[in-house]
Amino acid sequence: MNSMHDAGSSRSFRWWHETVIGALLVIVLLVAGWLVPGFLKPQSQLLLSRQLWEFAILALGMTLIIITGGIDLSVGSTMGLSAVAFGGVHAASGSLVAASLACLATGLCCGAVNGALVSQLRLHPLIVTLATFAAYRGIAEGWSQGHSYSRFGDDFSNLARGSWLGVPLPGTFFFVMAIGFAVFLAKTPNGRFLHAIGHNERAAKFSGIAVDRIRFWLYTMSGLLAGLASLIYVARFDTAKADFGKGFELDVITAVVLGGTSIYGGRGNILGTILGLLLIHETRMFVSRYWGSDELRSIVIGCLLIVAVLAYQLVSRRRRS
C-alpha cells in the first residue's frame, strides 16, 4: 500500500531533473563558499555573472530548438559574423545605432537562412547548421581579414559592464526574456506544439500543426538571439572580431542538455536550462578561483555533465521500478 502510494506520488512529480540539478548547484555553491573566501558575496557573484549572459541568451533559443528535436550549431559563428557587421558598419558610418541594428539584422538573416534550409528544403538541422557554422565564420573572417574593430566609447561598453540596481544590465534583460520564453513554452498553444513536434513530427503535422512555419521562425529567432548576444559581447570587450563566439555552440548545448532538455526532442523547459547554465557557470568560477587554472575548467564541466546525467537516470530508474 505504502509503496504504491509513493510510486503514484512520484510519478506525478515532474520536476525530478530540475531537483537533481538544483541540488548539485547548491552543493557546488556550498563547497565553493567554504573553500573560496568571499565566493558567495552577492557583489562578486553579480560582477562575475558577466561571463554568463551571452551564453544564457543563446541557451533560450537553443532550448526551444532542441525541444523540437533540432539543433543549431551555427550560433557561435553567427555571433562572429554579427560582430564583424557591427564593426564594419561602425567604421563606415561612425554610428553606434546603425552598427547595433546591423549586428541584430545580420543575426536575424543568418537565422532565417538556417530556417529556410531546414523548413523549405527539409534538410536535417544538424547538416544545415554544420554547414552554416563553417560558412558564417568564413564570411566573417574573409570580410574582416582578421582585423578587429574597437574603441566604441565608454558609454557603449557600459551597456554590458554597467548595472541597474546592482544587477548587470544584460542580466536584467535576460531574465525578462527568460520569463517571456517560459510563458510562451508552457502556456501558449504554439509553445506546446514545440513539444509535440519533438515527440513525433509526423503526428504533429497530421494534427494540423504548421511544423514548417514554426521551424522557420525558431531558427530565425535563434539567429536574432545570437546577434543580440554578439552585441553584448562586443560592448563588454569594446572590440568586434571575427573569432567571437568560437566554441560557444557546444557550451550552450551542454547547458541545455544538462538542464534536462532531451537531445531527442519532446522534453525540456526554461527553468531546467537556467539551472544548467548556473551550474556550469558557478562550477567554472569555483574551479578557476580555487585552482587558478584555465585548463581544469573544461575537464570539470565534462565530468559534471556525466554526473548529472547519471544522477538523473538513477533517480528516474528508481522511480519507474
Binding site: 559592464r161 580555487y290 584555465d294
Partner: protein
C-alpha cells in the same frame, strides 16, 4: 605553474604578504615560462606571493576575465601583458578603480589602463636590430623580397616593431613584399611560411617577429629545402631556435633577456605597491639588475641580445 587558493598567506611576522598577479599573453610557451622563472626568483627575494596564470590559447577575452577575477579576489598588483590592449582596457580600468595597482609588461596597454610599462627594449632598437641582423647575414647589398610574419593584427608590440622596421628596410635594397598575421598559432604560422615561399620566387628572407611565428617560419623554410637560400630571422627564445641555428636555417636570433624581464616586472610591482615607486620617478633599483632608468612611464630593461651559433648554447630559456 599556478599556485593560488583563496587563502590569504601571511609571513612569519603575521602581516599579510603582498599578492602580485602576473598575466602572460599565453601560458605554457617557452618565452613566457622563462619570464615566469625570473618572476619567481624576484618573488622569493622580495617575500611576495606570486600568482601566475594566463590563457593557454592567447585569447585576450580570457585575459580580461582573469583580471576581473583578480580584482574581486583583491590582489595588490596586477601585471598584464595584453594580447589586445583595447579588449583588456575595461577590466584594467576597473581594477584600478578598485584600488589595485596595474602595470603592463612585455606589451603595453592603453595609457589610462596602467601606471607603468615594463619595457624590454625600445621599439626602434628591436625593429632596427632585426633589419640590421638580416642585412648582416644576407650581405648588405643583397636585393630581393622579404616578408614579415607577425602575430595578430592587433598586437601592439609587433605593430610598433614593424613601424620601426619599415624605414630601416627602406634604406636597404630589400623590398617588403607582404606582412602576414597568423595569430599566436604555430600551425597558422607554418602555413603562412609555406605560402610566402611558394608565392615569392625572389624571396631572400623572412622575419618571424613573435616567438610563435619565428619557429613556424623556420620550419616552413626547412621543409621546403630552401634552407640557406631563404634566411629566417626574428624574435624567439634560444631554446626554441637552437635546432634551426645549428642546421643553418637561422643564423641569428634576436631577443632580450626574458628571465630578467620577469624579474624586473615583479620588482616594479613590489615597489609600486610599497609606495617606493611614484609617478615621475627617473629610476628604480631592481635587485641584481641594479639601477634602471625610467623614461616617461616606461621602465627600461635594457638592450636587445643577438644569439648566434657561437653563443646560443650558453643560454637556457
Amino acid at each position: 605553474m599556478t599556485g593560488t587558493s583563496g587563502e590569504k598567506s601571511t609571513d612569519s611576522s603575521g602581516s599579510r604578504k603582498l599578492r602580485i598577479a602576473l598575466l602572460p599573453k599565453i601560458k605554457g610557451i617557452s618565452y613566457f615560462s622563462s619570464c615566469f622563472k625570473g618572476a619567481e626568483e624576484a618573488a622569493k627575494e622580495l617575500g611576495v606571493e606570486l600568482i601566475y596564470d594566463g590563457p593557454t590559447d592567447g585569447d585576450p577575452r580570457k585575459q580580461a576575465e582573469m583580471i576581473e577575477q583578480w580584482t574581486i579576489d583583491g590582489v595588490d598588483v596586477i601585471c598584464v601583458a595584453p594580447n589586445a590592449p583595447d579588449v583588456v582596457a575595461g577590466a584594467m580600468k576597473e581594477a584600478r578603480a578598485a584600488g589595485i595597482s596595474v602595470i603592463t609588461w612585455d606589451a603595453d596597454g592603453t595609457t589610462e589602463s596602467r601606471s607603468f610599462f615594463v619595457n624590454q627594449a625600445s621599439a626602434r632598437a628591436i625593429g632596427e636590430g632585426l633589419v640590421n641582423t638580416m642585412l648582416q647575414d644576407l650581405g648588405p647589398e643583397t636585393e630581393g623580397d622579404v616578408v614579415i610574419i607577425s602575430a595578430d593584427a592587433t598586437s601592439a608590440n609587433q605593430n610598433a616593431w614593424i613601424e620601426a622596421m619599415k624605414p630601416a628596410l627602406g634604406k636597404s635594397k630589400l623590398n617588403l613584399a607582404t606582412i602576414k598575421y597568423p595569430g599566436e598559432n604555430a600551425s597558422n604560422a607554418l602555413a603562412d611560411g609555406q605560402d610566402v615561399i611558394s608565392k615569392y620566387p625572389n624571396l631572400k628572407g623572412i622575419f618571424g617577429i613573435s616567438s610563435v611565428s619565428f619557429p613556424g617560419a623556420a620550419e616552413a623554410v626547412e621543409q621546403s629545402g630552401k634552407g640557406g637560400q631563404v634566411l629566417v630571422t626574428g624574435l624567439s627564445t634560444p631554446n626554441d631556435m637552437k635546432k634551426f641555428v645549428h642546421n643553418g636555417t637561422v643564423r641569428s636570433v634576436v631577443l632580450w633577456n626574458t628571465v630578467d624581464l620577469g624579474y624586473l616586472t615583479i620588482h616594479v610591482a613590489k615597489a609600486l605597491a610599497a609606495g617606493e615607486l611614484k609617478d615621475g620617478a627617473a629610476s628604480i633599483k631592481a635587485g641584481r639588475l641594479g639601477e634602471l632608468s625610467i623614461v616617461g612611464d616606461n621602465v627600461m630593461l635594457g638592450d636587445i641580445m643577438v644569439f648566434t651559433k657561437a653563443n646560443i648554447d650558453q643560454y637556457d630559456f
